[in-house]
Symmetry: D2
Subunit: 174 residues, 4 copies
Amino acid sequence: MDATRSLQISVIGAGEPPPEAIPLAEEVGRELARRGAIVVTGGLAGIMEAVCRGAKEAGGTTIGILPGTDPRDANPYVDIAICTGIGYARNLAVVRSGRAVIAVSGAFGTLSEIAHALGDGIPVIGLSTWTLSRNGSVDTSIEVASNPADAVDRAFRAAESRDYAAVAARGEFR
Amino acid sequence: MDATRSLQISVIGAGEPPPEAIPLAEEVGRELARRGAIVVTGGLAGIMEAVCRGAKEAGGTTIGILPGTDPRDANPYVDIAICTGIGYARNLAVVRSGRAVIAVSGAFGTLSEIAHALGDGIPVIGLSTWTLSRNGSVDTSIEVASNPADAVDRAFRAAESRDYAAVAARGEFR
Amino acid sequence: MDATRSLQISVIGAGEPPPEAIPLAEEVGRELARRGAIVVTGGLAGIMEAVCRGAKEAGGTTIGILPGTDPRDANPYVDIAICTGIGYARNLAVVRSGRAVIAVSGAFGTLSEIAHALGDGIPVIGLSTWTLSRNGSVDTSIEVASNPADAVDRAFRAAESRDYAAVAARGEFR
Amino acid sequence: MDATRSLQISVIGAGEPPPEAIPLAEEVGRELARRGAIVVTGGLAGIMEAVCRGAKEAGGTTIGILPGTDPRDANPYVDIAICTGIGYARNLAVVRSGRAVIAVSGAFGTLSEIAHALGDGIPVIGLSTWTLSRNGSVDTSIEVASNPADAVDRAFRAAESRDYAAVAARGEFR
């Protein structure tokens, strides 16, 4: 990756979240912007809008990767709208465009994004989000954060240690 | 849907599953074929191959929706190979092409398929697969089956009661 | 590819074609089915429906790879409905799922499919379809057929000589 | 669309273009940046790299929508890398993310992008690119530009008059 390119961090979460998750997402956005990261989201309402609003308050840059083809679907805090027209398949592009992913709360769409990220070896930091279990024991792949600043700290650390070469060697489609 | 079209049921699971899951998948395939369903899978190895092998043993028809562009990637029990070339975004097409989904065991790819299915209102029957929790309480959206025949029973019942009109009214991309 | 898998040929064309193209598509469908090929289409109306109707008249098998998520969008002559939910990005899956492609008439969607096929090294046979020019000289990548039987003849010959290994060696994504 | 969001213009063209097309693409990039547009491309080499280089020389912002999952695939002049992992299906996102599209030279991938854009009602300005014919008469949907500055002029005019509401009313997937 070009040394001068800014770090991109993806933030995922539902379009209709519980009200108490909104300020968490705003603070994640503010903190990411303060630390110079570009914020990547799905571009719509709810958590996606809250994190973009927070990032813009702190002078950051926001990307919205939309499911549809109309940029007017993007929330008003999106600087750059990517119109995919591929529906929820855009969820994969959202997580893959971040060097780490922060999940705030979340419904099934968020769960699909968490799963795609973990399957691709992209670090996922969770804030009041899903807990996964397999065969009766909890899966610890999601790194649990205690608050927005902690989530951003963990995301930066995970992003810095991410090894793209290892993922490429593993192959993408198996 | 055309009244004469055969029922399609999707079966999902990992390419490198635990050995004990293989006979479960084979039996799911056999039972689906015996009952006249067309079996839809991701077309590759592991659970995908086992369910196709079972279905072919019982004289059924199998579809493999592949991540890549080469039909030779399909396991030898796939009758019809769909080459998408869109990578893991094909996971969405796998679950959407079934009127119900049976998950056998499974890794993160399977979890993404479960999440996409539940998000789209497609019934998911689980056999030794993921357990989901949110906010400390178990999410019961996955219907748990006790054995392959039970999974197929539940999938048929869920498929028959599935209401496409309700999903369409809800809108796809919001 | 498994030696026992049936040959799949894709047929592409517009949803609202000129009336004179309909009988051409029907005859292409009939001839493909008579010769044992499975017919792959985009599953909707117009040329897609005409070719499926022709194939079913001759006892063939038809696949419809749909842009949306509702199998009821498929025309009544589709045996197997693949619901992608990725919109027009499904055009790539339509051409990639055939060992050769026959284009009958066609609007811009068909042109995109022709371009994706040629870019992927998939043979394209044209019947009253687009003519392409670059730098003032006609591009001859589309093999022009004089009638439906000729189109099917050419598609079978092209499919038999298609070299998947060469495409794979070239790499997919650069 | 938010009134404060910058205009996005997509530039398409081959990864291995004829050498004489490179300075055309660079000048398109410079001119777009001078006029304040954000430049959207497929993010790889050739025309995509030349237009990004030109835009950066003039202080602009560049987006690369990549086919793969590794941001290091982006050329060094890409500011923001969108990693889709959906292969050439990303071509649709490239054209849809611009309010107008400028095609410089181009191979089959570019032709697919032109076709998708025209099918979606997105204006396409051509500079030494494909000529299309149907039924023996030239299709004039591509607006022909005589030089880079003229291409950018035409793209700005087309972008300003683009009517998203009309496209939405027509429906996306039929």
